[in-house]
Symmetry: C2
Subunit: 206 residues, 2 copies
């Protein structure tokens, strides 16, 4: 209800502000982001910003909330429950790798870690609105595949976590410790296929 597009008290430039804030926060973190920069990037005056948000902290929280919402909406990526196990796993591995190595994935991860003291629920909210959805879907699939006899899994949660972990092998450490930002398709294929092979060696039906 309300006035048709959920504008409430937001002025005409609300989206500009939020998008500018998103860009600056994402690339500089909370502490590193400068409100004057946000105003400049958003193409808006600082007074306008402060007419929307009482302070920088709440502005940050709104950006995060909105971003989690966006992610949540798009994370409902269908997983074809009937697909062959190996195909599905490979698809899931590639999807996770693609997100993890994406610019957004890297930045949001860094922010979650860096601001975990200042914003304790940030990381949890982010995780719940995306990665957790995928993980639950995967667990669900594992349960069905186990029931069908395609997989043999005793600890479903551990299996899901192991698969996720296997997908990060090599790539993750290089991202964090060697500041590699880009990875070739070949590198990602090697890791994804390796993850599937190891996972199936343990949990595949003989």
């Amino acid at each position: 209800m309300a006035d048709g597009s959920d504008q409430r008290k937001r002025g005409r430039k609300f989206d500009q502000v939020r998008d500018g804030a998103r860009e600056v926060f994402l690339s500089a973190g909370f502490e590193g982001a400068n409100v004057d920069d946000i105003a400049r990037v958003a193409g808006v005056s600082k007074a306008t910003i402060y007419s929307y948000f009482p302070d920088k902290r709440l502005m940050f929280m709104e950006v995060v909330r909105f971003e989690c919402q966006r992610q949540s909406d798009s994370a409902i990526a269908a997983i074809d429950m009937a697909a062959p196990v190996r195909d599905l796993l490979l698809y899931a591995a590639r999807t996770m790798l693609a997100f993890m190595t994406s610019d957004f994935g890297q930045r949001i991860f860094r922010i979650c870690v860096a601001e975990s003291e200042r914003f304790p629920e940030l990381a949890q909210n982010f995780y719940d609105s995306g990665p957790a959805v995928v993980r639950n879907r995967l667990t669900e699939f594992f349960a069905e595949a186990t029931a069908r006899g395609d997989l043999v899994i005793d600890d479903l949660d551990l299996a899901a976590d192991q698969f996720h972990a296997l997908c990060k092998a090599d790539i993750f450490d290089r991202m964090v410790f060697a500041q590699s930002q880009t990875f070739t398709p070949a590198e990602m294929t090697r890791v994804a296929e390796g993850a599937v092979a190891t996972f199936l060696a343990r949990y595949g039906a003989r």
Copy 2:
């Protein structure tokens, strides 16, 4: 040479300063650390600090350098090349998990991620002075075990990375996204044994 204990120009309170800086930097990060706090924690005046270090940045780098050195010295933990494969893997898994979940491990990881822009070589130096040592040792062991016929590994590096990744399953996400700081022995045993089981399912000789 020099004067017996490598004191160079360092005054009597050099260690106090470095230890205080270590404590504050480790718990607050570089930006979050306040020089007056460091002085207070070190039990020293600010002027003394600035008689040792030209600025905060170099003080931070000295702390990191020293800490990497310490880690490097203690990371040469012996790995018994002749031990049964399963025992060795379980021991390695427990060791990695213990470090990763330790207070120091968690803090240093957070700093590496948070300050990677400001100090690009920080993460690399840290990694090289500890985790890389263990990883290389493990790769070496895998090569020998493969030569002996105890393991069947085609891509040694990927195998090492996968093992490392498997050891972080579940635990890592809970640390980063749910801010869990402590884990019960049972939780760590579950993950460690799961990692070894999955790894051997793929790479163990039949």
